[in-house]
Symmetry: C2
Subunit: 430 residues, 2 copies
């Protein structure tokens, strides 16, 4: 497992973690594991197609404190309704999480709700746990019912296959079982040195692909730690981590019916300084958020937009998101096309007040636009800045200055819009 002191990474503790792609661990050298107190198991119920794992179960034999963030879409899927209720009824305690891919169980009416309940009841029964301590979510096509005749028996089998290794086993089978159009499993882990050789671990998995935008997406993430932390603190840590990561990325601007991030703490490794634990959660969440964007449907090239010098941080975020989400900017990025006029035009329609003549635009560190007109810049260098694997856009609005300009800044991560994205999404259910 990749281990490093959280303190060593303290300088990276900003939302700009999203922009600094080079320092990130997209592929860790050693297999990543669940922390102590977690057991994982996967199963195949031929939900969308036969022969692949499409069920993932995470069990906490000694229980865990739990927190979660759910989609704000009015059409929250049936499993979201069940999980939201269970989290409330259990007052932030959980003994298992059951997930499936291939079918979102969304827009499925009373029968869908009964099916979500049947999934958690099957897990509770097999584990001998209370129903309200089981959380559930689904990802895949909307408006189709789950094949419960295949899922319920498979859940019983999965419980018999739960691992018994000290550290809970590898993240990878679980991360693979929740994939839909993802091409790679998404995993990350950190460990924190708590002194006297005692270490606390934070591990996470996620699935992304489409419907990715702030307030989440068809994304599901599970973040697990063996730290001992109460439900209220865990909730606070989770919200900070999501705010710096999942709420700062976009693949297509669509928010799904099934978005969720679960945070679970088994307590097996004892207590941990809250700031260090929060940093580790944030780093794992930023790793996963970046993997989601870089495995976005039809991905070719990522872009980050950092806006500073706004009148407020909210204004900075609004401009950053508008630019990063603009179809014209995103297609220009795909083409490696230095059509920076589209960046400026997108900033100008963000609905944020600033003086156009104060705006400065840099791409890949090169000053491109200032005082309402293009700057003399080396054409080849500009072209190269637009043609890397990651395009870094920096906009200073000039509304605030100095330390205030830095405070009123934010970063948003997206990717070029490609023909492959359109092709994939034009033909998803058929």
């Amino acid at each position: 497992m990749r281990t490093n002191s959280a303190i060593d990474r303290e300088n990276a503790m900003t939302t700009n973690m999203l922009a600094a792609t080079s320092t990130q661990t997209a592929t860790a050298p050693a297999p990543l594991h669940w922390p102590r107190g977690f057991r994982a198991s996967v199963g195949a119920a031929a939900i969308k197609k036969a022969g692949r794992d499409d069920l993932a179960l995470l069990s906490m034999p000694n229980g865990a404190t739990a927190a979660a963030i759910f989609t704000r879409n009015l059409f929250a899927a049936a499993p979201i309704e069940v999980s939201r209720r269970h989290l409330k009824d259990s007052r932030g305690h959980a003994s298992a999480v059951i997930l499936n891919s291939g079918c979102a169980n969304a827009a499925t009416g009373p029968r869908g709700l009964a099916n979500a309940q049947e999934m958690v009841d099957a897990v509770a029964l097999a584990l001998g746990a209370a129903s309200e301590s089981v959380m559930v979510n689904s990802t895949g096509v909307i408006g189709v019912q789950l094949p419960m005749d295949r899922i319920a028996p498979e859940i019983a089998h999965m419980v018999t296959r739960l691992g018994s290794s000290e550290d809970g086993g590898s993240l990878e089978p679980f991360a693979r079982a929740i994939m839909t159009t993802d091409t790679k499993p998404k995993m990350s882990a950190r460990s924190i040195d708590c002194g006297s050789g005692r270490r606390v671990h934070v591990s996470g998995v996620a699935k992304g692909a489409g419907m990715i935008r702030p307030d989440m997406a068809t994304m599901i993430s599970v973040l697990a730690t063996d730290a001992d932390v109460d439900a209220r603190t865990l909730d606070r840590i989770l919200r900070h981590a999501a705010d710096a990561s999942y709420h700062r990325i976009s693949v297509d601007g669509d928010t799904s019916t099934n978005d969720s991030v679960f945070a679970l703490a088994s307590g097996m490794a004892g207590s941990c300084d809250e700031a260090l634990l929060a940093q580790a959660f944030r780093e794992v969440a930023c790793d996963l958020a970046k993997m989601i964007v870089c495995d976005g449907e039809g991905f070719e090239r990522s872009l980050s937009v950092r806006v500073s010098g706004a009148a407020s941080r909210a204004d900075a975020l609004r401009v950053a998101e508008t630019v990063a989400s603009s179809l014209l900017v995103r297609t220009a990025i795909t083409g490696g096309d230095p059509n920076w006029g589209r960046i400026v035009a997108a900033a100008g329609r963000a609905g944020v007040a600033f003086r156009p003549s104060d705006l400065e635009l840099r791409v890949g560190g090169i000053l491109i636009f200032r005082h309402s007109e293009p700057c003399p810049a080396d054409r080849d260098a500009v072209r190269a800045a637009f043609n890397g694997s990651h395009v870094e856009i920096e906009i200073s609005l000039g509304t605030s200055e100095g330390a205030e300009a830095e405070a009123n800044s934010d970063t948003f991560l997206s990717c070029g819009l490609t023909t492959e994205y359109v092709r994939l999404n034009a033909d998803y259910t058929t």
Copy 2:
């Protein structure tokens, strides 16, 4: 010229004109002409490439009342600044409009502003008119200066070539000269029977293609009438027409630096009932708006989203725009894919409050989703509804009922997102 009584079309006087594609005159049988009191001329200044007309001049020898709507983008292009000032200084009077394609003269600083001024001064000089009576706009790439050494002399030539025919000549050369990535010239006309054989005419041209969304786009439109109407009334008529047409369409959600619609009235045909004139303007503007969508970059298939039963008309519009602009909905439409779950999910994230269980979804008139679950519908019929040249989506939110549900409704027009759109936009400046 196509002539029909405006009164004959009174039943179509709703924003649903946008949805009813079949009744529209995308191609009129006879060549369309400018109304009396207008003279048009085009020229070639090799602004982007040689050998095509890229300058268009409309002259009103006896003057005209004028109104205009301009982009709300903070980076309004230099010609927009000049036209905005001239419209104000002249108190709504104009003697000419000069337009160019191939270069937007946006983000071009003080030199760009001087160039826009030089364009209007060249026209004013050649026509013997006051500078402030000349309006100007440009469309094309952002951040590049106009080749004034070629434009200024060509303007002088164009004035010598202004037509002298009674009705101002054909719309087509003008409509062609303002095209950028448009594949077809966009023109429409109506005439109004004012009694005793007297007719008033309304003619319009537009260019669209990319950067199309409400509050306009890289779209330029000129609407001309020979009716006698004061500037204030003309402004009111223009705003109503734009609200029902250009503000209800989207190609890619980007608002450009150069959006403008000019309305001009020569007065040569005498007065006209305001309601009839407003209807003719609205019909011409809706024709042009539809042509813009159906000639959107990479166009394959249009979609309209009508939302009724909202708590307010603004809510209806917000849901309609969110659904029509969703990348996942738009790619599904391209694929002819009955993935209606994406429509429901987009409605649920529009930020408008409604009870999900009250929503009803129809596509091509077929009830598909009600009471939070899919309805039994003929699979082939549903597939056919998603595979026509136009996909008609109707959503009832169920928040209001009866006459109120109809009043609290709105329609938005968009098009499927295609691989060709991405290909075109990934490689625009290069």
